[in-house]
Amino acid sequence: MKKLMICLVLCIPFLAGCWDNLSFRDLQVVTLIGIEGEKGNVTIHFSFPSQTDDQIEYLIAKAQGYSFADAKNEINVRTSEVIDISQLEVLLISEETAESNLIEYMDNLYRTPRNRLSSKVALIRGDMESFMTQTNPQGIGKNVPDFITHLLQTSDDYSMSTSHDIQKVGTLLFSEGKDLALPVLQIGEESGHPEIAGTALFKGKSATGTVLTTSQSKIMSIMEHNPGKFLRGTYEVEVDGKKDLITIEYVSGKKDWKIEGDKVRMSYDIDVEIEEFPIGPVLEKNRIEILEKQLSEQVTANMQDLLSVLQEAGSDPLGLGRTVRAFHPDLWKRGDWNETFSELDIKADAKIKIRRTGILN
């Protein structure tokens, strides 16, 4: 009898279990979210796959609310199954929205443990709807979120832009010494589907509105010392009085930042490989030197341009602030780092060395 009682007591949790049972059958997995609007009037677009007769269709729902979470809850009015954003692949935020405090939209994603933190984040330019529905399904297939994920990944591999997941965005938004830079997407005029437009700079927790071009992004990745798998650039050089184009690929590099008072000297030693050089082999030593000199000048000029853009925007995506904070407290304590950064006297200097000519001998 006593044993029976014990057994019964032990069985209670099993009878009453399943409180948190959330059957996968009843979930509507959202893979793409777009946020636009401003605080107090947020519109969220959801895109989710739906199976109908062995076909996967991507459906779209839209909801408005006072905040991100409010709009997210609002959407359940419209969908047959529970909306689940734990499988989110891409989070799109319109450029205008990003100019206010980004954390306001990210907090919910960041806080709820069920959510995925490794989803990609990108800004978009233009109409959100056109990103959600694909008007030209032949071009990229129906799976838009998948396409965007891979697009972002590829652009990161080729150092065209940055690629951050939600976790990294959170870290960078809170980080004092480094500012966030997110890729910007736009609908390509010719292709009619999303393309990389550039890299948006952030200052503190909101976007500055300044967008770097893809070639500036490449220079930025060199200066940040964090290039993607491939980094290629084309420059015009003059050899033996003839002008021609040369394409080089980044092989390896070293950065050296010297900070003295207000002056920052950034010097880079970069090893490159020649990808394309129609003039012919680059065998002779003096010819290599000529090329190296011209390339170094051009890259230095590019860096200087980029620095002035960054300083004007007051955004430090290079992470200079981290070094300053760690080793130069007097400079760091001068005030808000973004302000200090704009006022600094920063000079960059690149030394290009041709390591490989691309042909064996």
């Binding site: 949790p13 009453a16 279990g17 490794s118």
Partner: protein, 344 residues
């Protein structure tokens, strides 16, 4: 029958009991209190474990587990267990089971604990072994975060105010909780324990906690720690591994198993403090103990209670791990000597 364990088993039990529940949560509090200085503050404090354990190992025989002392420690360990239980309930509620009543989660934990208490002593001594592969796996995945780490996050040093450092050093006591178990467990090891072994153990312990502190510090920005109470779990969550999402979910269960076993070791210690005659009716007493634990544990499952009990533990730890052993040991040595002289 007197229980004999080897020194290796002693250290394994001690390690599990000391790391158990706290290793995911102590970082946040420490970093919030001491900022970037947390890591060296902890390093300095952690070095204290060497003399601490050495003294314990030297004078453990002078610490008599009798009467009031045993009772006090029993109560203290019971409270440690209850607060662990509360913390487990709270964490699971937040992290994975928001709708399940905390009571049910705790009941499950207590059922396992009851079964553990009913087992042979050898089981309790050895069960830590199943954690070893899990710990290794855990470390490997934590180290996957290294590629995102930012080294400059460790600097600059010495920015924190002295009062904050003081607060921080109190928080840095958390990982030490349980060190007094050494005094009890040591009595089961026959013969001498080499002080070199004690030092190695201290080193392993220090290394473990130091990397548990430094890794999140490298990974997150200091301001972020306010948002994330379990930085290690967040780190794992953001790892992108191809075979599954949400590594943290897997690891929260490793952590759970870890905590279960740590609690088991505390329970084991309490059982051994009980006088012989109570120990006889084992199943009834274990059941009573578990019910009591459940009753106290369910009171401690809100955010506020978790914080309060954590704070209480920090102070209680100072009393029970440092002050009381010191008093008892020195008292016993002085009186013991005098008595020895009288009889001689």
């Amino acid at each position: 029958m007197k229980l004999h364990i080897t020194s290796l088993q002693l250290f394994l039990m001690l390690f599990v009991a000391m790391t158990g529940t706290v290793f995911t949560s102590f970082q946040s509090q420490l970093v919030i209190a001491a900022g970037r200085d947390a890591w060296w503050l902890f390093l300095m404090q952690g070095l204290l474990i060497f003399p601490h354990l050495w003294l314990f190992n030297r004078y453990y025989q002078d610490f008599k587990w009798k009467g009031l002392i045993a009772f006090l420690y029993g109560i203290y360990w019971f409270f440690v267990m209850a607060s662990f239980l509360g913390y487990i309930g709270y964490t699971l509620n937040v992290w994975a089971y928001p709708k399940t009543p905390t009571f049910v989660i705790m009941l499950l934990v207590v059922i396992v604990l009851f079964y553990l208490m009913m087992s042979r002593s050898e089981t309790m001594v050895n069960i830590g072994v199943i954690l070893i592969p899990m710990i290794i796996l855990f470390m490997v995945f934590v180290y996957l975060g290294l590629k995102e780490a930012v080294w400059t996050n460790l600097f600059p040093l010495g920015e924190t105010k002295f009062s904050d450092l003081q607060k921080g050093s109190l928080k840095a006591q958390m990982p030490f909780i349980g060190i007094e178990l050494f005094l009890l467990l040591r009595t089961f090891v026959p013969g001498k324990v080499n002080s070199r072994k004690v030092m190695i153990y201290g080193g392993v312990w220090l290394l473990f906690f130091l990397q548990m502190l430094v890794m999140p510090l490298l990974f997150f920005s200091v301001e972020e720690f306010r948002l994330i109470p379990e930085p290690i779990m967040y780190m794992l969550k953001s790892q992108d591994v191809s075979f599954m999402e949400r590594l943290d979910l897997l690891f929260i269960y490793i952590w759970l198993a870890w905590s279960f076993i740590a609690m088991g070791i505390y329970a084991f210690s309490i059982l051994h403090l009980l006088p012989q005659k109570i120990r006889i009716r084992r199943s009834r007493n274990a059941a009573l103990f578990c019910i009591l634990l459940l009753a106290v544990g369910t009171q401690l499952d809100s955010k506020e209670a978790v914080r309060m009990s954590g704070q209480f533990l920090q102070y209680a730890h100072l009393v029970f791990a440092i002050a009381l052993p010191f008093l008892v040991i020195s008292g016993n040595r002085i009186f013991g000597k005098r008595r020895g002289e009288e009889s001689a």
